[in-house]
């Protein structure tokens, strides 16, 4: 372990990013349901009320439309809010604020106002919570110009990307996978550890197939790559990390090397991130493709409750593995 690395949980890495940034800039505050006295529904903000006091770590009523809008107004008026949604499923209650206000005020005002705000919280499915509590929202938000969308897959990226998101002058949707909060990993504790938004990470180099996967799908990709390696195939794994702006250049460069692509994404498939990535690859690297692009996504239905159905609903490692074999024409 480097001296400038610490092993942290995903939630601790996010907290560290917020704490460091709030110590640096007193215009940053954290607001959301249960973030203060309760220490966060997922304990992401544990201890932050004690550290920063109630002026800067603020409990809200159950009032997503209201406090999302309040954050937007505060950002317009010079502060740098971090707004936590208890889960991004509830961000739909504030959809109007995110889409019509956060994303558009800068444009409609002819650039007179900037909106340095981060909306963050758990995203996607976490076991059997039923349809209203299992939505992967990245494809929905990434379709909106004016928003930036970040979805890290490990604690170190979470910290570096969140610090960048907080320092960014545009509204950022920062998606934390609900089941990853306990995930441990080495995290830099350099004070200015910033991972730029819009830069993909080549997590693993390979020659035979490119797997593009973000957030918790990334871990599926790694397992698939391991299995393929046992059979003598080398998969290149790319974690885009930021979905808007998307680092399409890194993905395309990889396709030009491997000539094959599988995308894993737990969003619903219709008009999604995976559709977009597939389109952009064919637009920029059609001549390099040796096989049609395959994607493995959630099923095109609301998330079910029953255990077997829910497992079937989520993108499957076996399916991703088969898809890789298929695009490699490897029996």
């Amino acid at each position: 372990m480097h001296s400038d690395m610490a092993e942290l949980q995903f939630r601790e890495a996010i907290r560290a990013a917020m704490v460091e940034e709030m110590e640096r800039d007193e215009n940053i505050f954290l607001m959301g349901e249960e973030v203060a006295q309760y220490n966060g529904a997922y304990k992401v903000s544990e201890g932050m009320l004690d550290r920063f006091g109630p002026k800067r770590v603020i409990d809200t009523p159950i009032s997503e439309n209201g406090f999302a809008g309040l954050g937007i107004g505060a950002a317009l008026n010079g502060l740098r809010p971090i707004i936590e949604f208890m889960t991004f499923n509830f961000s739909f209650v504030a959809f109007d604020q995110l889409i019509n206000n956060a994303a558009k005020i800068r444009y409609m005002s002819g650039g007179q106002f900037k909106l340095p705000i981060v909306f963050r919280g758990p995203n996607g499915a976490a076991g059997q919570l039923g349809a209203t509590h299992s939505t992967s929202t990245e494809s929905i938000y990434a379709t909106i110009p004016g928003l930036k969308v970040v979805a890290p897959s490990n604690p170190d990226d979470a910290k570096g990307l969140l610090k960048s998101a907080i320092r960014d002058d545009d509204p950022v949707i920062f998606l934390e996978s609900e089941v990853m909060y306990g995930l441990r990993g080495e995290v830099s504790d350099e004070p200015d550890y910033l991972i730029p938004l819009g830069k993909a990470r080549i997590a693993r180099e390979g020659e035979d197939v490119t797997i593009v996967a973000h957030s918790k799908s990334y871990w599926i990709a790694l397992r698939v790559a391991d299995r393929l390696a046992e059979e003598g195939y080398s998969a290149e794994v790319i974690d885009p990390r930021t979905l808007r702006p998307l680092d399409i250049d890194t993905i395309v460069a990889s396709i030009k090397k491997t000539n094959r692509c599988v995308i894993i994404d737990e969003s619903n498939p219709y008009a999604s991130i995976s559709s977009e990535i597939a389109y952009q690859i064919q637009d920029r690297a059609f001549d390099y493709l040796d096989a049609p692009i395959r994607r493995i996504t959630a099923k095109d239905v609301p998330a079910p409750y029953a255990k077997n159905l829910m497992e079937y609903y989520m993108p499957q490692e076996d399916d991703a593995y088969e898809a890789c074999k298929q695009v490699m024409y490897a029996g």
Binding site: F67, G69, I72, G110, D169
Partner: protein
Amino acid sequence: MASETKKRTRQRDQVEEQGVPAEGAVVNGQDLEIPPRIEVKHVFTNYQAGKYGHKDVGLSEEQVLGMYRNMLLQRRFEERAAQMYGKQKIAGFLHLYIGQEAVSTGAAQAIRIGHDSVITAYRDHGIGLALGMTADECMAELFGKIDGCSRGKGGSMHYFKAEKRFFGGHGIVGAHVPVGTGIAFAHKYREDGGVCLTFLGDGAMGQGAVHEAFNLAALYELPVIFIIENNQYAMGTAIDRAFAETVFIKHAISNNMEAAMVNGMDVFAVCKAIQDHAELARRFKPSILEIRTYRYRGHSMSDPGKYRTKEELERKKQEDPIIRLKAYIRQHEIASNEDLDRIDEEVKEEVMRAVEFAENSPLPPLETIYEDVYTQEDYPFLA
């Protein structure tokens, strides 16, 4: 104390007897006592027309004339805009403010422009001009030209002016009300003494976002005044067709806020109300003002306004805020009829020049379509 304990014990016995929680039943150690009777008595202040003169609101005669001039500017600007809309120089929705000018003008006069903040809905020309935006930049925005206040990206409903701390006209009914609350939140956070005037229409009172904002403002004690411009109609819907409760300030009671009713045809009444409530806001007491006003024109240019009678309109025009102020000025011998006519001439010319300015301003260059979306200039857009 002892007798209270007794009472509770008695009530707990009741629970056991009837198998249902009784008044004052103890749950999780907390006393959920129900008072025998709840009474809400509240008398609201009423800012009547004719009750205040310019001295009561601390205005000099020059300032009164300035207000008169500005109200006329709003009126002439919009009359000309309507004409230009007819000539198809202006597109999109055009919601005119004619009849409501005392509200914008009285409010702007009552605050520190450039220090305090203002946000409103889509009927925003009046407040923009009252805050001192130029007729040129306002007209150019209607024409969709690059010299418009929002570089031609906003249009009629989306005027913005950062240096006036005018945080915009907004097109989604009610959605800007939480934003105004957040602007006030930042004033308090930075302790800069500013307040945020948040204007909304009566129709917006049906939106949940507005009621969430009321609660947040009261809960966090934010320096904001919610100003309901009650012009009695939301498009074609009269308030009594949309609301079970049409006295909107009553919502202040359930949010523990101050509130008052204001005659919006009298610029001094408006000014006084906003002065008083801005003072409260600076002491972190948010409030609701219901300003009763009236719009003479249809909801927008496409609306003939058939849902109201000619008689109603004519009756309301008797209270015209500009004519009222003119009579006041004459009565107090602040200016002569000739002076006032001259002001009108000047204003008309100013608006004519604004039309010319807007005509001559270039259309936004095509490459500006990719500007102002994000802060970075090199943002990778799909082309």
